[in-house]
Symmetry: C2
Subunit: 430 residues, 2 copies
């Protein structure tokens, strides 16, 4: 990890920079898959599955039997763990439900806001080295609480042409019934455009590789929305002498093992912590199965010492980390002053892994500095707010003139007339 | 308006279709402006202003004096109307403030969610035939309530090279101080990339012509987010014999005058209403200053009779109107069954103009069927939710094994280790 001791303001900008991957080169590939799925539907999906996943499938949909029997192939311990995590995630996301907001802004002018579920949503769960059933929990649980009617899940086949049992088990546990064995760009294209087998959805959620990332952005050209733009995962830990260097090192490594492009940043106001954490990182690293990956990520990572809290906080807010661990004696100062972060972990016994899996918070979070303007996935991600209003005769008589004056000043006479015609009939006593 | 009597299911699809404007042809123009602003900043903005607005400006920023004195040029009546509207909009958007959501998901595992303002936002107010001070209210009021620190406003110059007084007055009334006389693609590019004069923002709000629409989409390639994708404005009115045909006609016309591409749809379950509304539309149309525009919009508009409520409701939800007026005897059936709409207006005395200007609800709403997955602009549009968690020693001892099992099953050993190392130290009594 690169060390920076009290870096000058000028240098901060380079410390804040993410490796900006430009994916524009992938757009032609993505466009090609979308065009093929648009014109040839399922048969195009089948061809791309053969081409990219080296599996030829006759049917993409997971059968009811394969869903019902999935639990038999998952260990009891793991099932209990998944159930515990699901229960916590449910509790936290249910607490985010809001009541209708009702206001009488003036006598006779009632305005209210209500939320409704997005009826059709698509969840994408990547394949890769391991089945990410935790991501499935993070997306399916709030979708169910929100009341989304059609929840479509796409995930790539393994070498046997199947969806791993633990994914099927978790999906069934969450009450999902529409699982499709399709991955990559073709999955995003199918959920965007719809095929004979795979339903079209209104919003697509979930992580993926760079092709999936570009495909999700491409999908927004077709009246589909997405959860958020994606980038490599990140962690920033701020710690002083009250922190345990071994714990800090374990958290930094848990981020570093994600991928060679993972971002890991350690900020401290206690200069001796840099050597302590570095030494513990080295010790723990050699024992990790994914140490080759973690090493690459650490090569780009940074340890930064600031002489005071203000400078540290300013840096952290300018960076806007996806995951942010605070192990400081004066933790409330850091908690209260955070403006830009995806998810915040407080204290020595709150590792990022807790939120990644089981504490209840969501792990689908804004990366790449997007915490400045995006929320992580939460219950509202599956809802939209609709405003309502009802005005009485008395209400329009009070408010009418205001509307008429404003409409006239904007040169919109018909807008004015919609009020005038009502006021006239009312003054005629009808 | 085209009439449809109880259209068969097959025909519905064509009725739901919006005129799909493809703006891809404009992308090269937009890209060119972005590249120029990126490399040459203010001087590029100045050149494009001369080119597109036929005005050469030495300074883009509105002076404090021009803001302070704006009120002198606005009539007292209009100022009172704007203040009334602002007060109602404030009341409705303040009511949308939410408390922190706190849950102890398990003993010792505290999770909470808090909202923070997006620090830097850009508001775009188009120029065109009239100064849209109402849109400024709709964006500035919630931005202020949310607590956004930097609120940047861009709007094009009029022929005198100024921002109209009513815009300056409204901005000052809302407490805005950073107004820039810049419009079009160059305004969006400047707020996205930042120039020496115009600050970079994190999220851009506001309507605009097709160039601005494409520019906002283009901005999302540069770590900026936008309120929502834009399209032509729309209104759907559903009315039965209990409605006043003159009122219905006035509402349809208020939508039609927006632009030739406006979408106007009338749905009824009382067939005689079609003739009545048509005749009233003709009568009122000839008196409108913008009748040429309204006529063009009406040519593409539709009147549809359905024999029963179920069919009407299914059609309305499939269409997902931006504005939706309900004038039905059984209004609660229609109110309760709406799933997809931007803003709903209920009863004979609730014209769309009320929400466009002054009742309190926001008029920046999803068009083009986007109400299926997007909310209109509301207080949350200016906030992001951050999740927090704090776990005690006892908490990690209860939850730790669940995390370890799940991390292991996903093949992420370092994630597991971040828990194991803590559990080990705890069991050693430290």
């Amino acid at each position: 990890m690169q060390e920076y001791i009290n870096p000058p303001l000028m240098e901060l900008e380079s410390l804040l920079a993410r490796p900006t991957a430009s994916y524009e080169a992938l757009e032609p590939v993505v466009e090609n898959v979308f065009e093929a799925v648009k014109s040839r539907g399922d048969s195009a999906v089948r061809e791309f599955t053969t081409q990219f996943d080296q599996v030829t499938l006759s049917d993409f949909q997971v059968t009811k039997e394969a869903l019902d029997k999935a639990g038999e192939e998952v260990s009891e311990d793991l099932k209990t763990a998944i159930q515990q995590a699901k229960s916590n995630i449910e509790r936290f996301h249910k607490a985010q439900q809001t009541e209708s907001v009702y206001v009488e802004t003036m006598e006779g002018v009632s305005c209210w806001q209500e939320k409704r579920p997005i009826e059709k949503v698509g969840l994408y769960i990547p394949g890769g080295s391991a089945p990410l059933f935790s991501t499935l929990l993070m997306l399916a649980v709030p979708a169910k609480i929100a009341g989304c009617k059609e929840i479509v899940l796409c995930t790539p086949p393994n070498k046997k042409g199947e969806i791993p049992a633990v994914i099927r088990y978790t999906a069934a546990l969450c009450g999902l019934t529409h699982l499709y064995i399709v991955g990559g760009v073709q999955a995003i294209a199918a959920m965007t455009l719809g095929t004979a087998t795979i339903p079209q959805v209104y919003k697509i959620f979930g992580p993926g590789n760079q092709y999936v990332t570009v495909a999700k952005q491409w999908a927004t050209r077709y009246s589909v929305s997405i959860d958020m733009p994606a980038g490599p995962s990140e962690l920033l830990v701020v710690a002083d002498g009250s922190a345990d260097p071994d714990f800090v090192a374990s958290d930094l490594l848990s981020q570093a093992e994600h991928g060679p492009d993972s971002q890991v940043i350690f900020v401290t106001t206690a200069s001796e912590m840099i050597a302590k954490v570095t030494s513990s990182v080295q010790e723990q690293l050699i024992q990790l199965p994914r140490k080759a990956i973690a090493k690459k990520a650490l090569a780009n990572s940074k340890m930064i010492y600031f002489t005071n809290d203000d400078e540290a906080i300013r840096f952290i807010n300018a960076y806007g980390p996806e995951h942010y661990i605070i192990c400081m004696k004066n933790e409330s100062l850091y908690v209260n002053s955070i403006q830009n972060a995806g998810s915040v972990f407080i204290g020595n016994y709150t590792p990022e892994s807790a939120g990644d899996y089981a504490s209840g918070t969501n792990h689908t979070l804004p990366t790449n500095g997007y915490s400045k303007q995006y929320s992580g996935v939460n219950l509202d991600s599956f809802l939209k707010a609709i405003s309502f209003q009802k005005i009485t005769k008395k209400g329009i008589q009070s408010l009418g003139n205001t509307i008429e004056l404003m409409a006239e000043a904007e040169g919109l006479e018909a807008h004015k007339n919609a009020v005038s015609i009502r006021l006239k009939k009312l003054s005629n006593g009808s």
